[in-house]
């Protein structure tokens, strides 16, 4: 996509200096809010990541004694899942890169509703406090991230911790909902003249589809969580069989949200990967329209496949057939994306800078995770594989490797634009390779554990599962050490004296954020850019 701007950069100096409180606590600037979101994501990832390393330490050997209480174990697995989804992947990709880049990419001065944007962040920050309370108070919240009743009702999870965790989902949900409204309004109304929908960068398409998914999915989660809270505290029995309710209803509502949620986490990463692949192949994206509409189709179909999470729950045989076929259909638009990325590289002049390494890693590992996804979509096979480590391996291949590789690709791609300083290329590559080895070592053996029949959410297991668990735990230590390399990279960026040019990636980077200086000034596009 080619774009030119005829704004002048002189006017940026007129911006008055704000104090710390005014700038960060009352921020209405999309870049500052984006930075806050990224900070939130770093904190969320650290807490969730430390929890995962603790879990892997416990699982390193059978009959291990690092966590001896089942309650503590369940609290940790619950918090790990919720933190990684709501306080790492979503704030990094949507709140973070979305806020930072979408207005610049479409040539808008800011988001449509700057104060709403601020509110949306602080709801999430409050939600983080609540989820931590839910982890730490008493025996914590021990129902797993899927929070299925009756385990989390007042009888089986007494205590306020579970209420804190449920309210944290409300806060994170409101935050996402307001953010989604803001992105939709911004993208539909504030594109620069000449930037038609069909010229819009793919990251903006990704965020737009994601925002619609949030808009439709989050209210369903909010309803289900409200019903849970009422069952717990106000004597209703939406999900209590003794009162005429049904736990299976919750599963339907949860996955009506939960399945779009997985696309909410991966679509923005798809957007980032498209930009990175195009930039470092020095070619425009192959099949742009196909790429954009593949995301729209994935988003749409993502809403009508939810019960594939319930193949072994109460669901009729014919429904299984439908949900299996609908789920398999998603493989086709996903295939379009994978092949289009490869076709973008075909004939290109590929440079293996750090963001490109993450993008290539993403493409390959996402194909692996997608392949096991096709396996799991088969209801008949899910009867064997549901809830065992094969499933754990599958969704960590698409999330721990898919979404988080997308996050790191975006980080290395844009950190210069955000800070004005380059990252150390060598250490970026060290980070990539160590993380790549670490996560593969952690998650690939889990396929075998699952095939052998090891169930998830077990703090102790039969001795026969010891071998592959040990390998996985060693992998998690490598991933943990790799994250220390990432922190060194962050340190090096923020202490660097080197200045970067506007477009430090050169000819391949064609979107509008490369037309403004690095770091991007506080206010961009005080004159409206025109896209030719």
């Amino acid at each position: 996509m080619t774009a030119t701007t005829h704004e002048s950069h002189d006017s940026h100096e007129t911006h008055h200096q704000k104090g710390f409180i005014e700038r960060w606590l009352m921020s209405t600037n999309h870049k500052d809010i984006g930075t806050l979101y990224i900070t939130m994501a770093v904190i969320g990832a650290c807490v969730g990541g430390v929890l995962s390393v603790i879990m892997r330490q416990q699982l390193m050997y059978p009959h291990n004694n690092i966590i001896t209480s089942g309650a503590a174990w369940n609290a940790i697995i619950t918090a790990h899942g919720l933190l990684m989804i709501f306080w790492f992947v979503m704030p990094a990709l949507i709140g973070g890169f979305g806020n930072w880049m979408v207005p610049m990419m479409i040539g808008a001065p800011d988001m449509a509703f700057p104060r709403l944007n601020n509110m949306s962040f602080w709801f999430l920050a409050m939600g983080f406090i609540f989820i931590m309370l839910g982890l730490l108070i008493g025996t914590g919240t021990g129902a797993g991230w899927t929070i299925y009743p009756p385990l989390d009702n007042a009888q089986y999870s007494p205590g306020i911790a579970t209420d804190f965790s449920l309210f944290s989902l409300h806060l994170a949900g409101i935050s996402s909902l307001l953010g989604a409204i803001n992105f939709i309004a911004t993208i539909l109304n504030m594109r620069a003249p000449g930037m038609t929908m069909h010229k819009m960068p793919l990251f903006c398409w990704a965020i737009l589809v994601t925002a619609f998914l949030l808009l439709l999915a989050i209210p369903v989660l909010a309803g289900a969580v409200t019903m849970l809270i009422m069952d717990r505290n106000f004597g209703t029995s939406f999900f209590e069989p003794a009162g005429g309710g049904d736990p299976v209803l919750f599963q339907h509502l949860f996955w009506f949200f939960g399945h779009p949620e997985v696309y909410i986490m991966i679509l923005p990463a798809f957007g980032i990967i498209s930009h990175v692949v195009s930039t470092f192949s020095k070619k425009p994206i192959f099949g742009y329209l196909g790429m954009a509409y593949a995301m729209v189709i994935i988003g749409f179909v993502g809403f009508i496949v939810w019960a594939h999470h319930m193949f072994i729950s109460a669901i009729s045989t014919d429904s299984k057939v439908y949900f299996e076929v609908a789920t398999l259909v998603i493989a086709v638009p996903t295939g379009i994306k994978i092949f289009s990325w490869i076709a973008t590289m075909w004939g290109g002049s590929i440079e293996f800078k750090t963001p490109m390494l993450w993008a290539i890693g993403f493409i390959f590992l996402f194909v692996v995770g997608g392949a096991t996804g096709v396996v799991l979509a088969n209801a008949g096979l899910d009867q064997e594989l549901h809830n065992d480590y094969f499933l754990i391996a599958h969704f960590h291949y698409v999330l721990s490797m898919g979404a988080s590789f997308g996050v790191f690709a975006g980080f290395y791609y844009w950190i210069g634009k955000m800070t004005g300083h380059p990252y150390p290329e060598f250490w970026g590559k060290v980070h990539f390779w160590t993380f790549f080895i670490g996560v593969n070592l952690t998650f690939f053996p889990m396929h075998f554990l699952g095939l052998a029949g090891m169930p998830r959410r077990y703090p102790d297991y039969a001795d026969a599962f010891a071998g592959w668990n040990l390998v996985a735990s060693v992998g998690s230590i490598i991933s943990g050490l790799s994250t220390l390399v990432f922190f060194y990279v962050l340190y090096a960026v923020f202490t660097s004296k080197e200045k970067l040019a506007d477009n430090y990636w050169g000819e391949g980077a064609t979107t509008l954020e490369w037309a403004v200086p690095s770091p991007a000034p506080h206010h961009t596009f005080e004159d409206v850019p025109v896209i030719r």
Binding site: G142, S313, V321, A343, W346, N378, E384, F448, A452, R457
Partner: protein
């Protein structure tokens, strides 16, 4: 009847000779001893499904191989394509990028071929779904009720009724021949070679009735009866575990199944009724939030 007791005794004696006396309470009168001859349990560094213990698991195993080979082909193809592109079009070898952004033919191909692959997968896959659902005409129906944290087995169809609970052997009481975290005090005992129907429900929270070597898995949901069938041709011991988070001892409610010859099974029913069965109204069910009539429904089945 007498003859089968003798044969069970004979089998037990033979097995004892071979050092296969597994259960703590196994005495020469234990009619389940035949099941100790073959133990289908996970083993270290296992990389594939357990040996199939039921016709359903044979089908699952086949379809898994079928789908996984196709998907492995896809992954390898994409991997090779990626490797080729990255080598052939690296900047040092191809300094001037092309500007091609469209090619209708390849775009159609990469829609049509994946669709065909999926169609190839879907047909046997749907057959498997219907196979799994066919629980008609069982020889025996066992109602399985999940509890925090044990299983309750109700043989509603047998003369005199039979209902008992099954707890994991705690780690510090494991005897030689038992498997830590998989062996239980009172295994479920089934006649080998007969079709069995499980009616699965729960007395408290969700549980998962998961038997990987038999291709059986269903949630145990309070207030709902789910069904699943199996048939175990080979006399032996099979293991499973709870597979849906159910509280602090989720990892401590395994399932142990002993499939024994029909004659032994009939003896075992009497043995169990005399030795470890609860009375026909299990106290744990009366106190549970699950309406007792749910189980009555099941037993009328």
């Amino acid at each position: 009847m007498k003859r089968s007791i003798t044969s069970a005794l004979g089998a037990a004696g033979l097995l004892a000779l071979f050092g296969h006396m597994a259960l703590a309470q196994a005495t020469s009168t234990d009619p389940t001893a035949a099941a100790n001859a073959y133990v289908n349990a996970p083993h270290n560094w296992q990389m594939w499904f357990p040996e199939a213990g039921s016709p359903l698991q044979v089908q699952i195993d086949w379809l898994m191989k079928f789908v996984l080979w196709i998907m492995t082909g896809v992954v390898v193809f994409v991997g090779i394509l990626l490797a080729y592109v990255l080598t052939r079009y690296r900047a040092s070898r191809n300094p001037v990028p092309s500007n091609v952004t469209h090619n209708t033919l390849v775009e159609v191909i990469w829609i049509v071929i994946p669709t065909l692959l999926l169609a190839v997968i879907v047909i046997p896959s749907i057959n498997l779904i219907y196979s799994e659902a066919d629980d008609s005409n069982p020889y025996l129906t066992v109602t399985v009720t999940g509890h925090q944290w044990y299983w309750e087995y109700n043989y509603s169809g047998v003369q005199g009724g039979l209902d008992y609970t099954s707890y994991m052997i705690p780690d510090n009481q494991i005897q030689p021949g038992q498997i830590r975290r998989l062996s239980v005090d009172h295994p479920m005992v089934l006649p080998a070679g007969e079709k069995i129907k499980f009616i699965i429900n729960s007395a408290d929270v969700l549980h998962g009735f998961y038997l990987p070597s038999l291709g059986v898995q269903r949630y145990a949901i309070p207030g709902t009866n789910l069904t699943q069938w199996t048939l175990i041709p080979k006399v032996g011991t099979y293991y499973g575990q709870c597979n849906q988070i159910c509280g602090i001892n989720h990892d401590a409610m395994p399932i142990e199944i002993k499939a024994i010859p029909l004659a032994d099974y009939l003896n075992w029913v009497k043995y169990a009724q005399a030795n470890y069965a609860l009375n026909s109204f299990a106290p744990s069910l009366i106190s549970s939030p699950l309406p007792v009539n749910k189980l009555a429904d099941a037993s009328s089945n």
